[in-house]
Symmetry: C2
Subunit: 410 residues, 2 copies
C-alpha cells in the first residue's frame, strides 16, 4: 500500500488555521464614500466573500453585510453551524426561500434603525448609499435598490486582496509545496519511463500519454492534501489540447506541465516547468534557453514600487533578443484552462487575480505573483517556465524552490 | 510505478465529446416574452454559461448573446482560439479592457440593426426587452440598462438543465465510475488497515486518519482522470470537521465517505457510503439499518411525475419509523462542504442543482438525482448512504453500482 502514503514534508502535521485578514478596511471605504454600509452576495466560488468571511460557502448565494454597527454573514439554511464555526462575526440564518438580497436588506435596515435610535455622531445616517462589489448578482442588487438603497461599486475588497497578510502567505506556501511536489513527480515519471521503438514513452507496459501524466500529477497533488482545481495542464509537443490525445509522449518533444492547485483555505499555488526527455537540440532547446532568460529578466524587475507591466515587457524583450516573437497571437492557447500568453498575474484565493501585469498596476510588498513567460510553436510545441514569488522589502522571495532542469531529473 | 496506473474501466479510452444540448429553447423563451434576445454573463464557474457554450471559460467574465439572428460568445482576450474550438456558434473577441456588458450590448445592437434593415416579419423589433439569468452580474446589467434595454429575468436555462440529454448522461456516467472507484478504494484501505492496541487504525506504520483517507480517495479520483472538486468529505466518528483532526480512525466508529467529483466536461458525480471496521452493534448499526431503509424508501418514490418532496418525506418517515428524529437540526453539518441534512438534490454541471427535493418540483424523465438520507449523532458520528439515479420512463436507473456494505470489503 505504498501508494497511499503522504509524501514527507508536504502539508504534513496539523493544518494551519485560516488566515485572519480583518475587515476594517471596509469601514474606511464606507466612510470615505459617505455610505451606510457594504454588502456582498455570492456563492462558494466568490473569492471576495471567502476573503471577508472565511466561510467555505455553499452553492446557494449568501450575503455579508457590514455597517458601523453590524458585521453579519447571512448563511443559507443547513449551513449555519459551519458558518458560525468559520466566520468570526455574527451569523444570521436565512429562512428557506429567502433571497440573500432580502436578508441583506433586513440586516441593513436593522443596523440603520439601531443607529438612528442612538446618539449617532456620524453624519451618514441620512445617506442611503451602499457599497457593493461590481459583480454583485443583479437580483440581489435589485432587492437593495427596491428597498431604497443606492448602490455604488467599490474595489475595496479586490484592493485588499492584492497584497497578502502573513497568514495568507502561510496558506500559499503550504499549497505551493504540493505544487512543487506534483511537478517533480511528473519529472520523475518522465525520467523513469521506457521508450518504444518509434521514440514514444511507455510506463508499466502502456503508452505514457500527456493525459496519463496529468493524472499522475493530480494524484500526487491529492496525496499532498490539495486539489488540482481543474488547473493542471500537460502539453506534449504540438498535440494541442492535452485532454484529447492518446498518442505517447515522444522523447524529443517538449513536455510542459502547469499546475495551480487549491489548498485547504482556498488559496492557490502556481508552477510551470518544461522538460524534454531526449532533445536533439532543435527549437525546443533554443526556446528553453530564451524562456529561461526571459524568466530571469522578468524576476529581476520584481520589487516594491515597480510598474507591473515592466515585468511583462522585460520578459518579452528577452524573448525578442533571442529571435522569438513574444506577441505572436495566443501563445499556447490550445491547452485547457490556462492562458500561457500571459507572462504573469497575481495568485491568491483566485487562480488569477490582481496584480495583473499591466501599466495601471504597481507591485507592493505582499504582492504574490506568478511569473511565467512562455513560447508556443505550431510545429514543435510549447515551452514555459513559471515561478511564484512574493514581493518583499528587499525585492522578492521565491515561494517553492526555483530549481529547473531541461532534462527530467530522476 | 504501479501507483501511477489508471485503474481499468475508469474513464479509459478516448474521452467522449462534450454533450450537445442545443440552445433553441432560448428562442422560445425570447419569443414568449416578446423580448429581442437573451444575454448571460459570467466566469468559468458559471454553470449556465458552460451549459450554453461548452466553453470552459476563464477567470474573466465573458458574455453569451442570443437573438433570432445572433448566437455569439464574446470571449476574453487570449481565450479566443480555445473558445472557437469549444463553442459551436460564433466567437467574438473582446478587446482588452472591454467589459463583457459592453460587448453584449454591441452584439445585441448589431443583431437588432441587422434585423431592422431586413424584412423583419416578427413583431419584436420594437421591443427592447432582454432576458437574463437572475444572477447576471450587476455591472453587466447596468451596461445593458444604460444602452436602453429593459431586463427581465428568466429561468429558462436552469429549467433546461434540470433534465439531462443523452450526452450529459454519458458524461455523468463517466465521472460516476470514478466516484464509485474512489469510495471503493477507501473501503479497501480500511479493510486492509492494521489496528493498534487502543483500537486505532494504522497504515504503513502511520495513523490512518480521516484526512489521510480523504487524500487516498482524492488520489484515486485523480488517477481516474477526474477532480475531487473540493467535495470529498471523510468523517470518522463524532470528530467533526474531517480536515482538522489528527486522531486515527477507531475500529468501532462509523466512517462516512461522500464524494462529488467533477469530470472532463464539467459534470459531477455523487456517492455516499458509510462503513464500520468492527462494529459493536450499537448506535452505528441501528443508524445504518435505518438509513439503508430510508434510502430504499426514497428510491421507491423516484419516478417520472413524482413530487420531488415525496422522496424526502418517505426517507424521513422511514427514519422516524426506526426511532430516529429526521428533522433534528443540521444533521452532520460539521463536515466540510456538504450539507447532509439534505436528503437529495439534482446533480449536473453544478454539484447541487434542480430538481431540489421540495414541493414545487416534479421529477421528469432525465432528472438526475442524488438520493442520500443520513443521520448524525453528536456522540457517535454520522451515517449516510447515497446513490445517483436518473429518472427513466420505467422508473429510475442507478448511475454507478448500488452495492454497499456495512463492513468494508477488501
Amino acid at each position: 500500500m505504498t501508494d497511499d502514503r503522504s509524501p514527507s514534508g508536504a502539508t504534513a502535521g496539523s493544518p494551519a488555521p485560516p488566515p485572519t485578514t480583518g475587515r476594517s478596511f471596509l469601514d474606511d471605504a464606507v466612510a470615505a464614500r459617505g455610505a451606510v454600509g457594504f454588502v456582498a452576495v455570492g456563492d462558494r466560488f466568490d473569492a471576495d466573500l471567502r476573503y471577508l468571511t472565511r466561510f467555505e460557502g455553499s452553492e446557494d448565494d449568501h450575503a455579508y453585510v457590514r455597517t458601523p454597527d453590524a458585521d453579519v454573514l447571512c448563511a443559507p439554511p443547513g449551513h449555519v453551524a459551519r458558518a458560525t464555526r468559520q466566520f468570526d462575526g455574527r451569523v444570521a440564518s436565512d429562512r428557506p426561500g429567502d433571497h440573500p438580497g432580502e436578508r441583506a436588506v433586513a440586516a441593513l435596515d436593522a443596523s440603520i434603525a439601531g443607529e438612528s435610535e442612538g446618539t449617532s455622531e456620524s453624519g451618514t445616517a441620512d445617506s442611503q448609499t451602499v457599497l457593493v462589489p461590481p459583480s454583485i448578482p443583479h437580483d440581489a442588487a435589485v432587492y437593495l435598490e427596491r428597498a431604497g438603497y443606492e448602490l455604488r461599486s467599490t474595489t475595496a475588497v479586490a484592493d485588499a486582496r492584492a497584497t497578502k497578510a502573513d497568514g495568507e502567505l502561510e496558506a500559499i506556501r503550504a499549497v505551493q509545496r504540493a505544487a512543487v511536489g506534483g511537478v517533480r513527480r511528473a519529472e520523475r515519471v518522465l525520467a523513469a519511463a521506457e521508450r518504444d521503438q518509434s521514440g514514444g514513452l511507455r510506463l508499466d507496459d502502456g503508452a505514457l500519454t500527456a493525459e496519463r501524466l496529468r493524472r499522475v500529477v493530480n494524484a500526487e497533488l491529492a496525496r499532498c492534501g490539495v486539489g488540482d482545481a481543474g488547473n493542471t495542464v500537460v502539453v506534449a509537443g504540438s498535440t494541442g489540447d492535452g485532454g484529447t490525445e492518446t498518442e505517447p509522449i515522444a522523447t524529443d518533444e517538449p513536455v510542459r506541465i502547469d499546475v495551480a492547485p487549491r489548498g485547504p483555505h482556498g488559496y492557490h499555488g502556481f508552477r510551470s516547468r518544461t522538460v524534454v526527455v531526449d532533445s536533439d537540440g532543435g527549437w525546443e532547446r533554443r526556446a528553453y534557453v530564451a524562456v529561461e532568460a526571459a524568466l530571469e529578466a522578468a524576476l529581476d524587475e520584481v520589487e516594491s514600487g515597480a510598474d507591473a507591466d515592466d515585468v511583462r515587457r522585460e520578459a518579452d524583450a528577452e524573448l525578442a533578443a533571442f529571435g522569438f516573437d513574444p506577441t505572436g497571437g495566443e501563445r499556447g492557447s490550445a491547452e485547457g484552462d490556462s492562458d500561457p500568453s500571459e507572462t504573469g498575474h497575481g495568485v491568491g484565493l483566485s487562480r488569477r487575480e490582481r496584480p495583473f501585469l499591466r501599466a495601471s498596476e504597481t507591485l507592493e510588498v505582499g504582492s504574490v505573483l506568478a511569473v511565467a513567460p512562455g513560447l508556443t510553436d505550431s510545429e514543435h510545441g510549447s515551452v514555459r517556465l513559471g515561478d511564484l514569488v512574493v514581493v518583499t522589502e528587499a525585492g522578492y522571495e521565491l515561494l517553492g524552490d526555483g530549481t529547473r532542469s531541461f532534462t527530467p531529473r530522476a
